[in-house]
């Protein structure tokens, strides 16, 4: 079943295994390259992309800066519109609230709209433990659920599966969950989509409780927005009598008008469309006369590490994320390693900065995530809310190596430096000492130069990981400072070349 990432190995081990899987690499390469080109075209169509991106960044930053005020305003608006607002500090509390709300309806099954927040808190597993069956209705989520798999992409959780694998999963698993796959199902995408339509329709029609997330919440009006393609979202949002939406507190925007920015940038960034097929917006519940959609609406506001992230002045920009997944699709690391290696429902570059902040950097996987990047910056370039992912990655690396003050579950704590970096720290300490002692440095350099013939090509011990994929830089036959002394200082004016003339004005400390 999806959602459990506990005990994941660190990124390098998981990635090594994934890179060896040729089917996975082919599937990912095909999918990410397809969407990459399409996104670029969709973005190029709007001449004011830079201004939209900047406005999106500013709206989100402003909201985060006044998050308390806007959350209270949202609560008032949703309540005034007939909804009920619940607050959940962590995953356990959110799951408990949802399970109790479902039980109160007397139902033992729910239909779900694809939602990152409910993936993050492991809602399906928690409901199952309470005897409630949650049916995923997004096609990719369905593939993941039927295949007892884990999601590997924010937008397309089954991106690691190709059409043949999907057909096999449908054939063997659909029967156990409801209507079996049609006889003679082939692997054409249209037939696979049709099989999902038939399989899920009976569930939609009988569903009494729907569970969703939301892409946006509007503080001034209490409006929630779900952006989707298939219509499964509309089914879950309008047919059931009770709707429960679990939404991260950072999904807020202040005003109705703010949506005009994100409704232009989100579809183009995620599915590379001018507009996604369906967007639903609802504000609380409608009166008995209109009777459009659920009669009961619950909004569960989820913290689960978001306020801790907010406390970090560099890292908080990750909360601007609108989950478009453009950063995954352009990332050279994601393309090769795939989503599972990130050990979180949030894979790719955004996952590498979000997961270690939401969960802390104590576990092996979370401490390794800030390193799951070559810092090439493509993610920053495509981000529709201008999250400087490389900046946050470097910031988090520093935190992992050096430790320092962070906020966990609302409390300020001081992290110890990570154990795994002891060798690196020792090397840095040695370097610091050596640079503070010129005599020792000179001696060391000379010994290194004279013994260069005997230098190994790879490092021993903990250094092996570094030199496994890199060549050790060769040590020159003569240390730079000796060369300088020989060519510049002793023969002043005589042997100096043009390079020496240029440098002589700047560097005067060494030769004295």
């Amino acid at each position: 079943m999806s959602g459990t990432f506990i005990g994941m190995p660190a990124f390098p081990e998981a990635a090594r295994e994934a890179v060896g899987n040729r089917t996975l690499r082919r599937n990912l390469r095909h999918a990410t390259h397809t969407i990459r080109a399409k996104r670029a075209k969709a973005v190029a169509e709007v001449s004011d992309w830079a201004a939209l991106r900047e406005a999106g960044r500013q709206i989100k930053d402003h909201t985060l800066r006044h998050l308390d005020r806007y959350l209270v305003q949202l609560e008032e608006s949703v309540t005034a519109a007939g909804g009920t607002v619940h607050w959940a500090a962590d995953a356990v509390e959110a799951n408990r609230i949802v399970a109790e709300l479902v039980k109160a309806t007397g139902e033992s099954e729910v239909v779900k709209v694809k939602s990152m927040a409910t993936q993050e808190i492991g809602l399906n597993e928690a409901l199952e433990a309470e005897g409630i069956r949650a049916y995923e209705t997004d096609l990719a989520e369905l593939i993941v659920q039927l295949g007892k798999d884990r999601p590997s992409h924010i937008l397309v959780p089954a991106i690691h599966r190709n059409r043949g694998e999907i057909r096999d999963i449908f054939r063997s698993e659909m029967g156990a969950w409801g209507r079996p796959a049609p006889e003679g199902l082939t692997d054409t995408p249209a037939e696979l989509a049709e099989a999902a339509r038939l399989h899920l329709r009976e569930k939609f029609l009988r569903a009494r409780v729907g569970i969703s997330g939301a892409n946006f919440m509007v503080a001034e009006t209490g409006t929630l927005v779900v952006v989707e393609s298939e219509g499964n979202g509309r089914m879950c949002l309008t047919l059931p009598e009770t709707l429960i939406s679990v939404v991260g507190i950072e999904k807020l925007v202040p005003t109705w008008r703010d949506l005009e920015v994100f409704l232009q940038t989100l579809p183009r960034s995620s599915t590379a469309e001018r507009m996604n097929p369906y967007t639903s917006m609802w504000t609380g519940t409608t009166d008995a006369e209109t009777a459009d959609g659920p009669r009961t609406f619950h909004l569960v506001l989820l913290d689960n590490g978001r306020t801790d992230t907010l406390a970090d002045q560099v890292g908080r920009q990750a909360l601007r994320c609108i989950r478009c997944s453009a950063c995954l699709n352009v990332c050279p690391v994601y393309e090769r390693a795939g989503g599972h290696a990130y050990g979180s429902v949030y894979p790719g570059p955004i996952g590498a900065i979000l997961s270690p902040q939401l969960r802390g950097t104590q576990s092996e996987i979370d401490a390794s995530l800030p390193y799951a990047s070559s810092l090439c910056g493509a993610c920053y370039e495509v981000c529709p809310v201008a999250i400087d992912i490389p900046e946050v990655l470097v910031h988090l690396r520093e935190r992992v190596v050096q430790g320092g003050p962070v906020t966990r579950a609302g409390n300020k704590v001081v992290l110890k430096p990570a154990k795994g970096h002891a060798a690196e720290r020792a090397a840095m300490r040695a370097a610091r000492w050596a640079f503070g002692h010129p005599g020792a440095l000179r001696t060391g350099q000379r010994i290194a130069s004279r013994s260069r013939r005997f230098h190994p090509r790879t490092l021993p011990g903990p250094g092996r990981a570094w030199s496994a994929s890199r060549d050790l830089p060769p040590v020159p036959a003569e240390p730079f400072r000796d060369w300088w002394q020989r060519t510049h200082v002793t023969g002043r004016g005589a042997g100096a070349g043009s390079a020496g003339d240029q440098a002589s004005g700047h560097d005067q400390g060494d030769g004295k």
Binding site: A55, Q58, A140, M281, T407
Partner: protein, 215 residues
């Protein structure tokens, strides 16, 4: 302490050290982006709507008030449904030539009842040319959200040029957030298989948009 107070307290502590200037909302966001992309006449805007709807596999028809009943009749006849759903406030004249039995929204009380109806005819609240989008807001000529969702065939009449705007920002100005809104851009689709778009999943698989010229 309630979780509400706990979370709000955490937010306030997280922001206490922020130290940034308390810029009011109006000044915090520079709205330098365009209200619409490019300049077009009303006629060109309608053409763009038709073009973009077509690109996302909606079927576009153009007609005038006089011909509309015949167009709807023909579109229904081609699919041959026995029943067609109509929202309570749909102009009666639109359906005056249609053959199938008209079913009113209220008569189909359960989703299962709704599933037996093949087609639905509605108006719309606004249409967005740049994105090829029609927006429904539950007005009497559009009905409840469910009626345009469960049937497999949706005929949506857009009054042109009155109901057509160029852009998303212009559409937002015309819409009321208090109403349940559905933005529709082409028939239901998915990109979930190898990130390639396939039309036709849970919503109506055939979307026909009739551009009703009111001149």
């Amino acid at each position: 302490m309630s979780s509400r107070d706990l979370i709000l307290g955490r937010v306030r502590r997280a922001l206490a050290t922020a130290g940034e200037a308390d810029t009011p909302y109006e000044q915090a966001v520079s709205r330098d982006y365009l209200r619409e992309h490019g300049e077009r006449t009303a006629e060109e805007t309608v053409d763009l709507l038709a073009e973009n709807l077509t690109e996302y596999r909606a079927v576009v028809h153009r007609t005038n008030a006089e011909e509309l009943p015949n167009v709807i009749m023909r579109l229904l006849a081609l699919r041959g449904p026995r029943y067609v759903l109509v929202p309570p406030g749909l102009p009666a004249q639109w359906m005056s030539a249609a053959d199938p039995t008209r079913v009113h929204d209220r008569a189909v009380s359960t989703p299962h009842d709704l599933d037996k109806v093949e087609s639905v005819v509605t108006g719309c609240a606004v249409a967005i040319a740049e994105t090829g989008t029609i927006v429904l807001d539950g007005s009497p000529d559009q009905g409840r959200r469910r009626i345009t969702l469960v049937p497999d065939h949706h005929i949506c009449v857009v009054r042109v040029p009155a109901q057509v705007v160029s852009s998303v920002p212009q559409a937002m100005e015309r819409l009321a957030p208090t109403r349940p809104l559905t933005w529709i851009s082409g028939p239901s689709a998915t990109s979930d298989i190898e990130l390639d778009r396939v039309e036709g999943v849970h919503g109506p698989r055939t979307l026909e948009v009739v551009l009703l010229s009111e001149e």
